[in-house]
Amino acid sequence: MRLAVCLSLVPDPATIDVDPLTGEIDADRTLHIMDPADAAALELALRLRGDSDTVTVLTVGPVAAEAVLREALAAGADSALRLWDETRTATKPAVTSLLLAASLRNEGLPDLVLCGWRSLARGSGKIPALLGEYLDWPVVTDVTRMEIQAARVRFHRRLARGDRSEGEVTMPAVLAIAADGIRLRYASLPQLMQACRAAIPLRDLPDLGLSPLDLSFPASTVHAVTPPRPRPRTIFIPDSSLSPHERIGQILSAGAAPKSNRVLEGPPEEMADAIIAFLQARGFLDQPA
């Protein structure tokens, strides 16, 4: 089985110091690390690797991005590849996915592509799906657990508000990992020294058979950065068509509907039955659908 893992170099949130007045990040003091979600994906890939399997790591970025590939090689990845177009200074999710897809096709399509569900940099979370589009593969995002069974992958994925769902997807596929709590293993000295020595191959546009034209996407014209200005959440507003007296009443009760208050007293058996009856009346005890 051939596994590919896409990694990215992102600013370490602990070292990001945003100027609260201008929103600029002080680049001097920002440290860059491998994105934690990508690291979790790499750790899962390394755990999945059987004897005859290989794990290849790729990244899109300038020479500084080699650091994540070296860290991956030190952790035990079999081979590493950096993709970059020297004419660019920054990249967009669409460009990154296009380069990754092109490289994967060039090097021979793997059976599975793993990556993080969302990066700590601009954090678009679009790359897994875009990659799936350019490879015409199915995609699953926010995966917390996975198990490979023949040509299919069984997975758990994380939904909003603590809900979860189980599913399966045919291989080959793109899986975006959201397993927080999984950390990349700690490299031994020989592996680390070898990784530091390794020469990281670079593929640019011509190698990938792409021309700059392929990478032109409708760019948003203005792109300003501001310190976070939280957006007003919904809040109870007294109905201004009511009389002042009624509006004051609504303010005093903080908008809560008046409660029909009932107080009971009696032996524990009776009280327990009363509570159960009340819960049944409000539909808390019928089985979830």
């Binding site: 609260p20 007045l21 310190p227 200005r229 939280p230 957006r231 007003p232 959440r233 809040i235 109870f236 507003i237 007294p238 201004s240 009389s243 002042p244 509006r247 004051i248 009443g249 303010i251 005093l252 903080a254």
Partner: protein
């Protein structure tokens, strides 16, 4: 070093200045002025909060025109003699690195000729319900005088060293009266549509900008809902905010609710009103404009303030009474010591309560408020020599004395006969609408726990026990006891004291008659407490109306609203003569008739207590230094106990 309050302590640009954090000590009356001029008292009062780490200070209103003088201790900013006082304030505040704005205002028709012997000026000749004097509908020349007044005073504030001004357009202001259809029935260019009603405000803003230029902060305090008939509502307030932002002449919008002369109880909300009750106003305005918006309304806690910012309801949070109670609110919040903050009770007794009585601003739990120069931070003399001090009584008086003495370095022991500290306050908190009054004890206990004070509860102190400890000084704070002697038959059956009811020692019957001679919360909250449990309650008092002093703490209107809902009958003007087997007889003050009230299951007494000075008299002459403080001198309200606790703590 990121503290939990990430947003509360992130700087913000307002006009040409940068605020170090989002906490604003917003405008409020102080009555510190003398001869209509700012005084040293103002300077020390504001500096104490600047030193406490607040992000921005906005002073009380200063008047811009001689026709504006609704109450005695108002600062006449139109008189250039204010400049030395201004410089004194701004220098002392700027020394702490804190910016300060001056609020300037003309109260218009919400006034009378009482002081000025001139007609009050207003948009239309509609008398204000509180002052009940018909004002003069201003002519265009008068309007120009007012606008010039604003511009001149703005100039004086700049020369006085302020960083900017705030225009009061809510509470009590001629600008508010022009904006509100309830007071503006003009048909000229200043009345009718919102643009017309806002014309005076926009002309004032323009005149001020000409006088002080663009590099001077200009904040406008708008009312989000006047809560009166034909008053301003949230939709008009939002439209007005958009209008002002489009003029691009103001730097910040402050918000408020209610009017000063009709719904004051909704402006300085007491503990009956839920926290964040007015946050819908800044939230709605912030959806419509990009200017920084200040949200105000019973914000008592840094975490509550941080949540308001995080949920986007405001950019800055007005925190006033909480900083009147604890000037170091901001620094303690920044250093993650929120527990050490002396929480405000929202009781309104000694701050806004004293304003209505024309007295200078105080605080029920902070004697230094208003007298920062003599009692403020750093004025506590270290104990020389260090003494062994025994305090008897764990109520507000005893706790305060123990805290002050221990803080100075004395070795203090506190004895309390109940198994819980708090004295009478412990009962007041049983009523849901008075629960926050318990914070007065929570604060004192928290303060005393951090100091080397030996606390022994459940110890009924006897003279021998006190003397056995060989104290160098003794402070007696044994409080007061019920006094049944005042009413014949009061010691008979079916009669209970209000504290018995609240403590649950006595369960009231179905029909209850409460005799109220205090006219304050002890009576009205006990009535509410019993009514909520289904009792049929009638309150009888000799005063003109039940709860005569609830107006001082702005609880009157909301108590009566609740009393009507709970069916409490109020019978004023009846002086109780006696009680016999559940039957109360009283004298109707104005008819001279003797009235026998129908028999009730329980008669509850909310009457004056008597000092419990047994221990004091026993110890007199036995100890080198003996003090007596609080109710055991004379039963009074909590602020008296706290002040005497401070005095004794400093005297020992």
């Amino acid at each position: 070093m990121s503290s939990p309050s990430r947003l509360l302590f992130s700087p913000l640009r307002v006009g040409n200045i940068t605020l170090q954090n989002r906490i604003v000590f917003s405008a409020h009356l102080t009555n510190f002025a003398e001869d209509f001029m700012p005084t040293d008292r103002h300077a020390y009062y504001y500096r104490e909060r600047a030193r406490g780490g607040v992000g921005l200070i906005i002073t009380e209103e200063h008047s811009v025109h001689p026709t504006d003088h609704p109450y005695e201790k108002l600062i006449h900013a139109f008189n250039p003699a204010v400049l030395p006082g201004y410089r004194r304030i701004t220098e002392m505040v700027h020394a702490e690195g804190t910016p300060i704005l001056a609020q300037i205002n003309h109260n218009g028709g919400q006034s009378s000729g009482m002081f000025t012997r001139l007609p009050a000026w207003a948009p239309s000749a509609i008398a204000d319900p509180l002052f009940r004097e018909v004002p003069k509908a201003v002519e265009h020349e008068d309007i120009h005088q007012i606008i010039d007044g604003y511009a001149t005073v703005a100039g004086y504030t700049k020369r006085g060293g302020f960083d900017g001004v705030e225009l009061q357009c809510s509470h009590s202001s001629i600008v508010r009266q022009f904006l509100s259809r309830s007071t503006n029935t003009r048909t000229d260019a200043y009345g009718g549509s919102l643009e017309n009603r806002a014309r005076l405000l926009r002309e004032i803003i323009g005149a001020i900008r000409v006088a002080v230029g663009r590099d001077y902060v200009l904040s406008v305090r708008l009312c989000g809902d006047e809560l009166i008939r034909d008053g301003i509502t949230i939709d008009e307030a939002v439209d007005l905010a958009r209008l002002l932002e489009r003029d691009r002449l103001i730097d910040c919008i402050n918000t408020s609710i209610g009017t000063a002369t009709q719904t004051l109880y909704m402006i300085e909300a007491s503990m009956r009103i839920p926290p964040n009750y007015a946050m819908f106003i800044p939230s709605a305005i912030r959806k419509a404009v990009h200017l920084p918006v200040i949200g105000v309304g019973r914000v008592k806690d840094p975490i509550q303030a941080e949540r308001l910012l995080a949920e986007g309801h405001a950019d800055l949070v007005g925190i006033v009474r909480a900083q009147i109670a604890d000037p170091e609110f901001a620094r303690k919040a920044r250093e993650n010591r929120a527990d050490d903050i002396r929480l405000c009770l929202s009781c309104n007794q000694e701050c806004v309560g004293r304003m209505g009585l024309n007295r200078w601003l105080g605080c029920i739990e902070t004697p230094a408020t208003g007298r920062e120069q003599s009692l403020g931070a750093g004025t506590l003399p270290p104990a020389k020599p260090e003494k062994r001090v025994t305090v008897i009584g764990g109520g507000p008086a005893g706790l305060k004395a123990a805290a002050i003495a221990a803080r100075r370095g004395h070795r203090v022991t506190l004895l309390e006969k109940e198994d819980r500290l708090g004295g009478q306050v412990a009962w007041a908190v049983r009523v849901t609408t008075r629960a926050e009054f318990g914070d007065i004890i929570r604060n004192l206990v928290h303060e005393v726990e951090q100091l080397p004070v030996g606390i022994q509860t459940g110890v009924a102190a006897t003279p021998e026990m006190v003397l056995a400890g060989q104290p160098d000084a003794v402070i007696v704070a044994t409080g007061s006891l019920p006094d049944r002697r005042a009413i014949p038959g009061a010691d008979g059956p079916r009669v209970a004291d209000a504290t018995d009811i609240l403590a649950g020692r006595v369960t009231p019957g179905r029909r209850v008659l409460l005799i109220d001679r205090l006219g304050f919360h002890e009576a009205t909250s006990t009535a509410e407490f019993m009514a909520e449990q289904g009792c049929a309650v009638e309150v009888v008092t000799q005063t003109l109306y039940v709860g005569q002093d609830l107006g001082v703490t702005l609880d009157l209107e909301n108590w009566y609203r609740q009393a009507r809902r709970l069916g409490i009958r109020c019978t004023p003007n009846h002086s109780v003569l006696g009680i016999e087997d559940g039957v109360v007889t009283a004298l109707h003050n104005y008819s001279g008739q003797i009235v026998r009230f129908p028999e009730v299951d329980t008669v509850v007494l909310a009457i004056h207590r008597r000092a419990n000075c047994r221990l004091y008299t026993a110890l007199k002459g036995q100890v080198a230094e003996l003090h007596r403080i609080g109710d055991c001198v004379a039963p009074r309200r909590a602020h008296a106990a706290i002040i005497e606790g401070e005095k004794a703590g400093r005297a020992v």
